[in-house]
């Protein structure tokens, strides 16, 4: 009986290590909110590029909601400022700034990355 218990405990520990560390359960039907951070950033950049083409704010918000963000404008603002702080790709920053501005979240750090527009009020 003692052997059974000892074997069971050792086996249980081994099974847990295998299932949690070595070969984790892999989801195959994940929502977009579970995407890794790098892929979330990439997806947001793609939506920002789409916004640069069609200027459709509602469509951009609708597409970014799939990432499970409660507040899309703040999410875009924070990501934009993070890219600026980390000296990200200039074209990426411009796309994000344009989207953030379209969402009404233009902050001072973004000012110098604004694109020229016909109203002439950009720096």
């Amino acid at each position: 009986m003692i052997s059974l218990i000892i074997g069971g405990l050792v086996g249980l520990g081994g099974g847990l290590v295998y299932g949690w560390v070595i070969d984790k359960a892999e989801y195959i039907d994940s929502p977009m909110s579970g995407l890794a951070q790098s892929y979330q950033n990439d997806y947001t950049l793609m939506i920002a590029a789409g916004y640069a083409v069609d200027q459709d704010v509602d469509a951009a918000i609708d597409r970014l909601r799939r990432l499970g963000m409660d507040n899309v404008p703040i999410y875009v603002q924070e990501m934009t400022e993070r890219y600026i702080t980390n000296s990200g790709d200039i074209e990426d920053i411009r796309l994000l700034v344009a989207l953030s501005e379209g969402l009404g979240r233009l902050t001072p750090p973004m000012e110098r990355f604004r694109q020229l527009n016909p109203t002439g009020d950009s720096p």
């Binding site: 086996g11 295998y18 994940s30 890794a36 109203t119």
Partner: protein
């Protein structure tokens, strides 16, 4: 020798020699390992551990790759389709085919991801996704993407091509510019007015002031050397109000 001289028979056991008794359980070796018990316990333990770690308490997935996104028959709930929409929208902006292919490869759409995009476009159209202007733009971006790579789908026939807006020409008779006659020294008694012949076409009075939108450049292999001007009213509808 008399009988009394015969030595007594030896006792069954010597005083210093313990008598033989059957081994009791207390005399058996304690904590002996039962290899069979250990093996059975090990198997049961491993099975229970894997069940707990895979089924009952799996690791919460936070590092999902695009290929792990939800697929399936329900096209509107298919997360991979929405990811593809984003890829083609980005392609419509930067025309970076290599980057678009790399992103499609991450989705693991099969042997021919470009044809998979074409099939998704067809399914999206049939689902009613393109009933909104945003959806229609997305589907058009997908169609442009796969057609440039030589693929086709039912969307080729269902979506009308973007045609240039027909220009309505209005013939307005205009008067020929003539120099005014030099003033005469004697004023005429009755001034006569002549019709100028200029016809003014009334237009809708502006409802609000014009607000400029954004100038942007784009590169398209389909539309070379063209300037597109999109006019929207304040209801966000395209076209010039009549």
């Amino acid at each position: 020798m008399s009988q009394s001289s015969v030595p007594p028979p030896p006792p069954s056991t010597l005083p210093e020699q313990p008598s033989f008794r059957q081994a009791s359980k207390y005399q058996q070796r304690r904590f002996g390992i039962s290899w069979w018990g250990l093996l059975i316990g090990l198997v049961l333990g491993v099975a229970g551990g894997i069940y707990l770690s895979w089924v009952q308490f799996p690791v919460i997935e936070t590092e999902t790759r695009p290929d792990q996104l939800r697929g399936g028959e329900n096209i509107l709930g298919n997360e991979k389709v929405h990811y593809v929409v984003a890829i083609t929208l980005a392609y419509s902006h930067d025309s970076d085919l290599g980057l678009a292919i790399q992103r499609l490869t991450d989705l693991e759409l099969g042997n021919d991801p470009l044809q998979a995009v074409a099939d998704m476009t067809c399914n999206l159209l049939n689902s009613g996704y393109a009933q909104t202007s945003a959806g229609l733009r997305a589907v058009r971006s997908m169609r442009t993407f796969y057609r440039l790579q030589g693929r086709s789908s039912c969307a080729d026939d269902l979506i009308p091509d973007i045609v240039s807006t027909s220009i309505v020409e209005i013939d307005v008779p205009t008067s020929t510019a003539t120099l005014p006659p030099p003033p005469s020294k004697t004023p005429s008694s009755a001034a006569t007015t002549t019709p100028s012949g200029l016809v003014i076409v009334p237009t809708t009075a502006p409802q609000r002031e014009y607000e400029g939108s954004v100038f942007s450049t784009f590169c398209s292999t389909e539309l070379n050397g063209i300037i597109e001007v999109y006019v929207r009213d304040f209801g966000n509808r395209e076209g010039i109000p009549r």
